[in-house]
Symmetry: C2
Subunit: 440 residues, 2 copies
Amino acid sequence: MQSHEAALFADRYEFAMLRAYREHGLDRTAVFDLTIRSLPAQRAYLIAGGIEDVLDYLEELRFSSDLIRGLATLDVLSDDDLDWLSRLRFEGDVYAVPEGTPIFADEPLLRVEASLPVAQLVETYVINQIHLQTMLASKAARVVEAAAGRSVIDFGARRAHGTDAAMKAARTLYLVGFEATSNVLAGITYGIPTAGTMAHSYIQAHDDEPAAFRHFAATHAGTTLLVDTYDTIEGVRHVIRLAEELGTAFSVGAIRLDSGDLGAHARTARGLLDAAGLDSVRIVASGGLDEYRIAELVGAGAPIDVFGVGTAVHTSDDAPSLEAVYKLAAYDGVARSKRSENKSTLGGRKQIYRRFDDSGTAIGDTLGLESESVEGEPLLHLVMRRGQRLLPREPLHAARERTIEARSTLPASLRAIDPEVAPYRVEVSEALRTAADTTS
Amino acid sequence: MQSHEAALFADRYEFAMLRAYREHGLDRTAVFDLTIRSLPAQRAYLIAGGIEDVLDYLEELRFSSDLIRGLATLDVLSDDDLDWLSRLRFEGDVYAVPEGTPIFADEPLLRVEASLPVAQLVETYVINQIHLQTMLASKAARVVEAAAGRSVIDFGARRAHGTDAAMKAARTLYLVGFEATSNVLAGITYGIPTAGTMAHSYIQAHDDEPAAFRHFAATHAGTTLLVDTYDTIEGVRHVIRLAEELGTAFSVGAIRLDSGDLGAHARTARGLLDAAGLDSVRIVASGGLDEYRIAELVGAGAPIDVFGVGTAVHTSDDAPSLEAVYKLAAYDGVARSKRSENKSTLGGRKQIYRRFDDSGTAIGDTLGLESESVEGEPLLHLVMRRGQRLLPREPLHAARERTIEARSTLPASLRAIDPEVAPYRVEVSEALRTAADTTS
């Protein structure tokens, strides 16, 4: 998809509803909440993501003439609708929590207020981006926690679900605390540090491993050599022999382990390297790593300096989707609820109020009405007024610092890889319950 | 990502290796195999996908001056490399199985033969697209099988992992046998039929459900009405009352159930509709559907005509990644193997030979050398010679017919949702084993 096509990234029913709304005069202000209906069993909290991309999309929403021609072929809209769409700009208000904020089930992380046909129309794209990036941020936060201060690098582009997911993941993982990405385009696009070593094919293309190491080290000072193509420990010995051969010209920065028992290999490698006086050579580990495996390795004291993480975090493999929904909360000033079995929603213009103890640790949220007075810090802020962003896109490094800081306010028990039983407390205010109950 | 940026959608190490390859004269022809190393427990076969997009990418591979400027900032490549890249075109050969072909573990579905630095460089993008689309096709095939001839429609755009995955999924699901997509942009881009109904918000925006139904039916002849916003059976009664009210002007085509016990609701709804003489009104079911749930509903004889499937298939939720790898199989005419623990690969230029019984059912494959004579139909074909596609992109409807036909050659036991124990037999030829063993 090219970015100018984003306006058509929508379910057909959005356009079918648009026509019916317009024909029957339902064009007053609608309030839609973007929430995650429940937490997956493997998550004790979520980290909000995707908000900046949604704001970009809303600011740039246009139906150019070629998109209008495409829409006309669907036979869903009237000529009047098509004409109206060709002049459409998003002129609504948006409230959101800052990207990187910890959130919980049923808490609206984004609220769109706009004319009903327009607020409805943007649903598909808004959910798609918030869902993806919140899912990725929530998984990545666990990986960073598991690494307990050791470096984590993103190696996942190849097995992300497509290029958009890979790009957004690179940004999101960095936002949450990863140190670098292997993805060159993401590095350049978002200003993220890039990292990378070599593939097994590089070794295999040479007649033997020592020749491959010698060439690579000669080309790239400070590089990382991959040691497991044939025999991991033999590979480490080849690195040591290269150091002996090159003397002070030796500048290899690290070795990478990518298969077998990473903890055992790391210990053996560390011993051999140290015995050879190569204690400055670091150890990078990769290959099927996720937060569980990293926590095990860290817990066992494996001498690994850097974890390269790919597929597990890019696909959020233990929870590859969240129940992200975009639901009408009010229309024309009246709260609207929904009572579908196990899928009910509360109407009303909401606010999340978070309370902290004296040490700055979050101790509970109240989900209430924006208009009521509730103890706690309000998390939702007006970020777009009448289609205009109130602040420019935040620099990524600043958002990253803020995100890491925000996560540190969560209780340690919640941040644990296997969180302890008591979940975070989110109450619904009496006023919100009452407002929601009075409708439909 | 914009399409002209695809050349930079690559891991940093591809460029690091490129520099080292060029500096040390490793620029002879390399052969890379794209394979799925093993099948997830939940899959008895895979369906190859993503090949057409890879061929597009290779044909269009260019490093425009803005991309070169971006690359220069990484400090990985020499000025000479950057100059060389600015003139680079992909001039290699590509072999592939036809998109939609059933394949098994370790069978190369794509082979790239090009100068080593170039064949290496394309790795990240090639894996990304083949992985995504093969994963999606393999999941979708199970959903189509489970539906046992009933219609299946793609509703997944909102919870796909980003826009690229959503677009590729819409195409892939249609390729495999879905009948339509809700995604307007995908429908227009790929020529896929689009479908859609209404959201709960449409109902909620009205003061009552009957008014919402009346408006929508007036605007959209033959439409589908969503009946579960407040009470499913009451919703069905509102549809029946609308039919009584409109008489011969009533043209509603279907109702949609989206929550609760879909089988029970479908039976009750069918009874009520039939009793009211509305046997032409079909029943669409959606909400958390996957192949397991669909098989249950079909098995229980639930009167559901159309299944709307979203998150489960778009995220391949029970197997959200495959072990897709791109491995050097030969360099400069010599087979290359790899012996990493549990991650070994066989060198050599390979071919997949598939045998069929008299009824046309596939009974086993041999993975052999392209140069040997083995019983069975060879599945890999030359599709690109010296950077030029040999055939234009196949029309999607033709590819769809071929894909459905190809799947029908698999034994029914393999296509079952819970496949029976005996897996499909894939043998490695003696000649391939020998060729692979003679190298490093």
